[in-house]
């Protein structure tokens, strides 16, 4: 009975996962795409629970479906709903080539998994109840994978600095030329559009 229930949950989560992934890339409105991605992340968290990765599932819901997607929705709301037809320009050679490339990628992965590792991946290792819990993951992060942990924090710090620089670069008007190298690089774009766009933003910033 428990076996059957696991299968039901797996099939439901797998179909929700694939369906929402297809919905993300087919919806014309980016807002609906982002909401479909939230569904995708949620069904993936269910699959992580089935794989006894409880901490990763919780982090997925909190970090991805919570923080990252809220940021996405804020930006989409800020930019306004600029709907774009998904298959713009009809089925041109670009779309055909894209479908072909994605199909080739899929076939390649499936063949690699099936041929190279088909039989050896059928069984699972025996794990205890603490597998995937925060205790084990925290212990590994602070012992075996300490370097990865620290590098991850540096990556996040650099991303935060990059976000601040990109934001201030977009906000600063033409009067702030000759600042940091990032700003100097930013001023290479056509000046009239900057001066036309920036004064209201500068006023809002003050």
């Amino acid at each position: 009975m428990g076996n059957f229930l696991v299968w039901v949950v797996w099939v439901a989560a797998a179909f929700a996962c694939l369906g929402s992934a297809v919905a993300v890339i087919t919806f014309a409105n980016p807002f609906y795409s982002a909401l479909a991605l939230v569904g995708n992340l949620g069904s993936l968290a269910v699959l992580y629970l089935l794989l006894s990765a409880e901490f990763v599932a919780a982090a997925q819901m909190l970090v991805y479906a919570g923080a990252v997607m809220v940021m996405f929705l804020f930006v989409i709301a800020y930019l306004g709903g600029r709907a774009e037809t998904p298959w713009a320009g009809g089925p041109g050679w670009q779309a055909v080539a894209a479908v072909g490339a994605a199909g080739a990628l899929l076939v390649e992965i499936v063949v690699a998994v099936g041929l190279k590792a088909g039989g050896r991946l059928s069984e699972e290792a025996d794990v205890d109840a603490f597998f995937g819990g925060p205790h084990e993951i925290g212990r590994l992060f602070l012992t075996d994978h300490l370097l990865a942990f620290e590098i991850t924090s540096i990556v996040l710090l650099i991303a935060a600095i990059g976000g601040v620089i990109l934001g201030s670069n977009a906000r600063s008007g033409p009067e702030s030329t000759g600042g940091s190298p990032a700003r100097a690089g930013g001023t290479r774009s056509p000046a009239p559009s900057i001066s036309a766009a920036q004064p209201p933003e500068g006023e809002a910033a003050r």
Partner: protein
């Protein structure tokens, strides 16, 4: 637990990755391209966690958490770029962003 085999998770991860790649290649809005990138990263994450379950080692989950942090950083920088583009009144169309072409 006698659920689906690890193979099934890996095939699902391959389908997710291919769907994300199709989205990256076929869509023109950089927002949707970023969302499709998230799908690709999640496909890789699913494969990592499935392998972690297969071998009974937790290192795959550590890797998945690191991928999650990289994805969050990528979203921050990508959304910053998109907002900067929108403020300069550039078209949000990856086919028209050709000024960085070498």
């Amino acid at each position: 637990m006698m659920g689906p085999e690890i193979n099934a998770y890996l095939i699902l991860a391959a389908f997710l990755f291919a769907t994300g790649a199709l989205g990256v290649l076929i869509r023109r809005s950089p927002l949707i391209v970023l969302l499709s990138l998230e799908i690709m990263l999640n496909g890789a994450n699913l494969a990592l966690i499935a392998f972690s379950r297969r071998f009974g080692e937790i290192d795959g989950q550590i890797f998945a958490l690191a991928v999650m942090a990289v994805a969050a950083s990528e979203v921050v920088v990508g959304l910053g770029l998109i907002v900067a583009m929108a403020r300069r009144h550039l078209d949000l169309d990856v086919d028209k962003l050709t000024t960085l072409r070498g």
